[in-house]
Structures are given as structure tokens and as C-alpha cells.
Amino acid sequence: MTPDTLVDVRSLKKYYPVTGGVFRRRIADVKAVDGVDLALKRGECVGLVGESGCGKTTLGKAVLRLHKATDGRIYFGQDPALVEKVEVMLAAADPAERSRGRALARTMDLNRLSGRALLALRQKIQVVFQDPTNSLDPRMLVRDIVAEPLTAQHLVKPQDVESRVLELLAIVGLTPDHLLRYPHEFSGGQRQRIAIARALATSPEFILMDEPTSALDVSVQAQILNLLKRLQAEFHLTYLFVTHHLLVVKYISHRIAVMYLGKIVETGPTSEIFERPLHPYTRALLSAIPVPDPLTRREKIILSGDVPNPIDPPAGCRFHPRCPHAREICRTAEPPLAPVDAGGRTVACHRWREI
């Protein structure tokens, strides 16, 4: 835990109930996120990588408090020393100590906040979604869309809204004559710019990027990536960049967290992960990237089979049924996410040293 941590996610779980029968009883859980620890430093971009259904979007939405996590804590902008103290109390053996810890956590944990305290935090946390066609209300003017976060919480005097919106549009590279138009009059890239302008409206500290370039054309994707990079440096923003596109993550992120089936299997600085992936899943993922260069022919690791069902994940290491290096221990014991070196690399694999 470093002093400049902005977002600190502790053992977060999000289960979706599966109901069945006449009375819709809960018969099972989809374990979309199953115990995730993740810390983001102020001003850094962490790429959250994984395949569909691995829980990366669910994790992002929990941090946004678009839904309430089943269990775990999300600390946003809290004093790291205090967070550490609370965590220690929560893990204590003494029940009185634990309940004191819970009482303290209730005032700090984003997952348990409500009402005004939550509204105040909402200003600092924003989101850019994948498909701007879907994330912009088709019946609203650009002015009203971008102003929404400001007017919803009455952050700006009504007469100042328009000038602030114009300022935001200029930041993302749109012009004042775009102000009174509907989203359908724009191209995909411009729509994503509008969505970015909306996310910047409340001067947030943290923006969740939920696959912001996946729905865009290749030539436009570069424009948006460069814009996001520039904004991050300019406004000292913290990004959680959720994507399945590894080269995009490589371009934009400082650190990477790889998710598989509701768990983080590896984290570390981007360049190190790309140079020396430790977890077998990360290796397969990286080797599977199609590289736009016909002359480099790399050895590919083709994984067999599909991602298992998150209702009933495999025992032990969740990756073992597809892992080419699985041994007996992988089938029985779940590997913890353990630090590899002092550089902040962690990996959840029993055998990373050997393979």
C-alpha cells in the first residue's frame, strides 16, 4: 500500500443469483467477481484485461457503484494508513475488534455508502462506455448530455452551464456548433468524444474506461487513444481501462491486471508483463494476439477448450483444466495472488517459478 493510492479494492465479490422453480428460489450463484484485490495509484492507468465473462466489466461497475457488490470493500480516496488499520481490525480474531472495524468501514467503504455521501463521491468517479451509440441518450442534445452530471447535482449555476459545456467540448476537440445537435448526427469517434466530455464534466479523479475504443474503427481508435492519453496527463486522471484488446492496453496502461473467471491471476507493470508473462494464462493470451506484422512469426500457445461456467468454477486453480502445465496441486489448492518481486508484480500460480 503506497501513500498515493486512490482506489483500493479489497476481496471484492459480486454474485448474481440464479433463481429457479415456481417460487424463484435461489439455486446457485454466478460468481462473476470472486475475491479481487486491486489498488490504483493516483494518476496511473491500470489495464484490466480478460476474456468475455471473466468479470472485468462487473468489477468496473462495482467500483462505479452501479451495482452493489456482494462482499468486500472499495476504498476511494481514503487515507491509506487508516484503510490499513481498518483492514487489520476486520481481519482480527477478536469479535469486538472486528465489529469496531466494520463500523469504521461503513463510513469509508464506497460499497456501503448511500445518500449524500455517495452523491459526493459520484462527482469524482466517472465512466466512458464501449458503445457511444448506446451510452448517449438519442433524444437529448449534446449540450444537455454533457451538462447532465452538472445539472443532476446542481454543481454549476444554470447560467454557467453552457460556458462549462463549451469548455469541455473544446477539451475533447469538438466545436461550439456541435452544441445543439443530436448524437445521431455524429460519427462514432465524435460520439465517443461527447461521452468523454460528459465524463470530464464534474472534474473527476477517476474514470472507468469500459472498452472505450472497441466499437470504433481502427483509424478513429488511434484518435481516441491519443486523446485519452493527453487528458490523463493534463488532468492527472486515474483510469481503470477495461478491455480485451491487449495492444491497446499496452499502448495506454502503466500497469496491467489480468483476470480469469472472476479472479485476478497476474498484475504488474505493462512492459514487464509483456516481456516476461509469468502466469500460463497470461502467456497464452499474449501469444494469441494477432500481430500486424507478417514477418514476425511467434510461437503460439493455443489453449484447448473454453472458459468454464462461472456458476460452478473448477476447484483449485480455476485455470487448471486448460493449463498446459497443470499438476496435482493445481487441481486441489487455490493459488493465492502472491508478490513476485519488489516491483509490485503479483501472480496467482503454484508453478510460476518452474515454467
Partner: protein, 313 residues
């Protein structure tokens, strides 16, 4: 080629206007481009004028203008003449007067019933669709019950229970009409609720009320509005059917269903002259058909315009 240049010049003129106005004009242009919608609109407008000018076109004779004047009590209808331009019905009620004031009744029933249905449907639909859970379960089971009983049978039973008369018919149509609106709106809200812009609004700290009014209703309303515009015609037909069955207004009220009910004994004339009383059946039937046709054409046009697949992107 010429058409396109003309259109671009209008576009250019429009682009100076406020975008909401532009949108409205665009919609209007689409509406007026379709000949059927223009016919529908003109029919409705003509009937509207008739209803408005009823006191001028047919000056009332009694304090209650909805009572049709009648000259004598002869059972047999008489054909059109100078005194009665469209003839008379059974008991010598004046057909023209009845039809003109009947237009007012038709508008009152059609527009009022549909507006009330829409209001109830929207309130319950929003409760069910946006808040879900127990609200959804209760409201949807009630609509299921309504859908399980044949519409006309239920309407008849309720009218009998409440008591005859135009007012009773109106109330019954309101009671029985809302479930389809609720259902349609609920499903549209469910679709809209899952879209990213709602999530974005929540992430911006918008309240439930704000999300509902600013985002959900404007995007989910269209199917219900289309349903309403198509339903005005149906509502009037149902009201007429109830009147025809003798459950509606009292004899001699200016109401189209009542008029047809008065004429039902004269549909077929005496042997040898089967079409002797053609006017008592044909004229009111034609008027009702035109009215319903007008609303239906307009409803179709509204649907075509608002249909998301037809809208420009």
C-alpha cells in the same frame, strides 16, 4: 436531381433553426409526405370542425343538446327530404342532427377514454418497469387477469353492474383499456433501462425521478403513443357496439352507436323492396367508418414516423 437540390436548400434554411424545431419540422415533413396520413389527418380535422361547429350546423332544440329532436312518433323511418336532409330514424329522430352531435360524443369518448387509459397505463407501466420487483409482479398479474377475460364480455358485464348510459360506458372503457398500455410501456422501459446511457446518468448522480422523466419516458413512450393513436378508433367502435347492444346511452341521445341501434330493425326492408331503408343503415355506418378510418390512418402514420427502424440515424 432537382428534388435533391431543393431538399438541401430547405435543410440549410432549417439548420439555422433550433434543433428541436428542426426535429419537429422534419417529422412534420415526413408526415405530410405520406398521402394516407394526409387523408387520415384531414378526416379527423373535418370531424373535429363538425364537432366544434355543432351548435351552428344543427342548432339544438332542447336544453340538452345531445337529445335528438324528433317530429312525431311514427315508427317507420322516412327518406331524406328538405326538412330532414339525411332522413329520419325510427320515431322520426333527425339523422343529420344525431350524426353532428354524435361527432361530439365520439370525440368525447374516444379522446377522453384513450387519454385516461394512457395516464393509468404510464403510471403503472413505469412502476412495473422501472422499479420492478413486487410492483412488477402485482401489476402484471392484474393485467393478466384483465387479458384472461374477453374484452367485450367484461365491458358488458361492468356496464350492467354500473348502470346504463354514456358515462358508464366511458368509465368501463377506461377500466378495461389500460392493461395493454401498461404492458407495452413496461417492456419498453425494461429495454431502455438496460441501456448504457441510463447507467451513465446514474453514475452522474441523477435521481430516479430525473432518470425517469429525462431519459426513460422520452425513449420508451413511442410504442404507447402509437398504440393510443391506433386505439381511438377501436374505442369508438366498442362504445358504439355497447350502445348498439342497448347498454349505452338512452334512446334519442346523439351517439352513433345509439343511432345504429335505433335503425337495426330497418336494415332489411319488406319483401320486394329490400333496400327501402338503405339510408338508415348506410349513412351512420359510413360516418362511423370514416371516423375510425381517419384515426387508424393517422395512427399508422404516427407509427411509421416514430418507428425506430424508419428513423434516420
Amino acid at each position: 436531381m432537382k428534388g435533391r437540390t431543393m431538399e438541401t436548400s430547405t435543410d440549410r434554411r432549417l439548420s439555422a433553426a433550433h434543433p428541436r424545431l428542426k426535429e419537429l419540422l422534419f417529422t412534420l415533413r415526413r408526415f405530410l409526405k405520406n398521402p394516407l396520413s394526409v387523408i387520415g389527418l384531414s378526416l379527423v380535422v373535418i370531424f373535429g370542425i363538425i364537432a366544434l361547429l355543432a351548435p351552428v350546423l344543427a342548432p339544438p332544440k332542447y336544453p340538452d343538446p345531445f337529445r335528438i329532436p324528433h317530429t312525431g312518433f311514427r315508427i317507420e323511418p322516412s327518406p331524406p327530404s328538405a326538412a330532414h336532409p339525411l332522413g329520419t330514424m325510427q320515431q322520426q329522430y333527425d339523422m343529420l342532427y344525431g350524426l353532428i352531435w354524435g361527432t361530439r360524443s365520439a370525440f368525447r369518448i374516444g379522446v377522453f377514454v384513450v387519454a385516461a387509459n394512457l395516464l393509468i397505463g404510464i403510471i403503472l407501466g413505469v412502476l412495473a418497469g422501472y422499479f420492478g420487483g413486487a410492483w412488477d409482479e402485482i401489476i402484471m398479474r392484474i393485467t393478466d387477469i384483465f387479458f384472461a377475460i374477453p374484452y367485450l364480455v367484461m365491458a358488458m358485464a361492468l356496464v350492467v353492474a354500473i348502470g346504463r348510459g354514456l358515462k358508464a360506458v366511458t368509465i368501463v372503457l377506461i377500466i378495461t383499456g389500460w392493461p395493454s398500455y401498461t404492458r407495452v410501456l413496461r417492456s419498453d422501459i425494461l429495454v431502455t433501462r438496460g441501456r448504457d446511457f441510463i447507467q451513465a446518468a446514474r453514475a452522474s448522480g441523477a435521481s430516479h425521478l430525473r432518470i425517469m422523466i429525462n431519459h426513460i419516458l422520452p425513449n420508451a413512450m413511442y410504442s404507447v403513443l402509437i398504440l393510443a393513436s391506433l386505439n381511438i378508433g377501436t374505442t369508438i367502435l366498442t362504445a358504439a357496439a355497447l350502445s348498439f347492444l342497448g347498454l349505452g346511452s338512452e334512446t334519442g341521445t346523439a351517439d352513433w352507436g345509439q343511432i345504429i341501434s335505433l335503425c337495426r330493425n330497418w336494415i332489411v326492408g319488406a319483401p320486394g323492396n329490400r333496400f327501402a331503408y338503405w339510408y338508415v343503415v348506410f349513412i351512420p355506418g359510413f360516418v362511423i367508418s370514416l371516423f375510425v378510418l381517419g384515426w387508424n390512418l393517422m395512427g399508422d402514420a404516427v407509427r411509421d414516423i416514430f418507428d425506430p427502424r424508419m428513423r434516420r440515424r
